[in-house]
């Protein structure tokens, strides 16, 4: 009888916080499956959240497999960087290379990072505020890389930062349209833009990732790992002689790392670390970062319109956040809603990839501030 009762012993270790975390894990899984919101990340994160919040969970702890994976791939920033090779291989920089000025929009849309950092510095230490601000990079791997580098792996807020970063990336179609509409008039949203893309030579495509790495590395040496891995992935794609490697990076490598990254990130989502007011504040600040990124990009486009004879549709500035390719599609769709004959996609894709580069540079600059 005693042996039989010992089966139920672990129930005594269960607390309400763990049950709440199961619900949060369940919500993440629901959003991934039913709402198709970043399922590749939210589903593993959701399941991992349940896994690490079981009493005396064998998945975590000194020799738990998730802790081993965390130390091997996230604590040393390896997983986010490897994922960057896959992302780099997925990106085609041709729209940007045929119209390099688009990079300015990507830069402007990073303003949300720093504005949020200012706001967060009222409540948090400076490295924490910077790590929260980087949610606005709209780029999961960059957020993980910067937060881990600045705060170390034992910080209580890293989990919340990661959840906010990936959740808001998934919520771009919900967050961006109202913000864009708030800061533009109907007339502005109806501005038509012609696309006159020039063909880009292969040599330009090959030299571009190499030169960007050198330039970014000279100005922000801390960004070399981030920019370098992204550009290495792109070089594999652009060179034209490594099609098999490019395909592997885009599919197998990216998928494999995503699986491990998603479930391993959840090590940070134990009830004791996650369930507090700080988490709610970080999630609110993350939304703030996305809102100001979007508004920053649009307002920059409006500023350019003040000085330019050829008017641009200010909505395209919102695509400067690096949530690729979702943001470019959202803005394109909004353009079609306003005027079905307005085809903004070539512009928004160019700006969206600019945002990817600019967000990585922003991450590197922030790391540089802290040495």
């Amino acid at each position: 009888m005693k042996e039989l009762l010992s089966i139920f012993e672990n129930f005594g270790n269960l607390d309400i916080g763990m049950v709440v975390m199961w619900v949060i894990g369940g919500i993440l899984i629901y959003l991934a499956i039913a709402k198709d919101m970043e399922p590749t990340l939210l589903l593993p994160m959701g399941f991992g959240t349940i896994l690490v919040n079981l009493p005396l969970s064998g998945a975590i702890g000194e020799e738990g497999p998730l802790t081993v994976l965390f130390n091997a791939g996230i604590a040393n920033e390896l997983f986010p960087l490897l994922l960057f090779i896959g992302i780099g291989a997925m990106i085609d920089f041709e729209p940007l290379l045929s119209n390099p000025k688009l990079l300015l929009f990507g830069a402007a849309a990073q303003s949300g990072i720093f504005i949020t950092m200012i706001l967060a510095s009222f409540f948090f230490t400076l490295p924490e505020a910077a790590s929260i601000g980087i949610i606005g990079a709209a780029d999961g791997p960059t957020a993980i890389f910067v937060a881990n580098t600045l705060l170390g792996t034992n910080s209580n807020i890293t989990g919340a930062i990661m959840v906010a970063a990936y959740s808001y990336m998934a919520l771009v179609p919900v967050i961006q349209p109202p913000v864009i509409k708030l800061v533009t008039t109907k007339k502005e949203r109806q501005i038509k833009m012609a696309y006159a893309g020039k063909p880009v030579k292969k040599l330009t495509k090959i030299l571009f990732p190499i030169i960007v790495t050198i330039v970014a590395g000279l100005f922000a040496p801390q960004s070399v790992a981030l920019v370098g891995f992204l550009m290495f992935g792109n070089l594999i794609r652009a060179c034209g002689v490594l099609d098999a490697l490019s395909e592997t990076a885009q599919k197998v490598l990216a998928n494999l790392i995503t699986i491990f990254l998603g479930i391993t990130v959840s090590v940070q989502m134990t009830a004791d670390k996650f369930l507090n007011w700080t988490t709610l504040l970080i999630i609110a600040l993350g939304l703030f970062a996305f809102v100001f990124d979007t508004a920053g990009g649009v307002l920059f486009a409006k500023l350019i319109n003040l000085f330019s004879k050829k008017k641009i549709n200010p909505m395209i500035g919102a695509a400067g956040i690096s949530a690729f390719p979702m943001s470019s599609r959202v803005v394109h769709k909004l353009g079609i809603e306003e005027d079905p004959s307005n085809f903004l996609l070539p512009h928004t894709v160019g700006i969206n990839v600019s945002g990817q580069i600019a967000s990585v540079i922003a991450g590197g600059l922030i790391l540089n501030f802290f040495g």
Binding site: L103, A107, I118, A129, K181, I211, V215, F288, I361
Partner: protein
Amino acid sequence: MKNNRIFSKALCLLIAVMLMLVPVSVFAAAESHNHIDENSDSVCDVAECGAEIVKEPTILDNVLESLKMFVIGMIGIFVVVGIIIIVIYALTRFIDGAPKKQS
């Protein structure tokens, strides 16, 4: 459409709350600054004995520092991006040659 409107209102509310927190926090920052100043008198006694004082940054210090980072960070991004733009133009010109004049 209706959802968007509700979301817009919620968003405005959130921003308003955040903005309201700013003066409150500035006030709190000033208060904590005063506290440190008050405490520093007692620390000064120790300082006279030769101990080294390491003052923790106040909220105001943090905010000022992050403002500085905002300015330098945004200028930094635009400078790096500007150089990349120039490099792309130079690269295109070098590889494609000068654009042909239209007759």
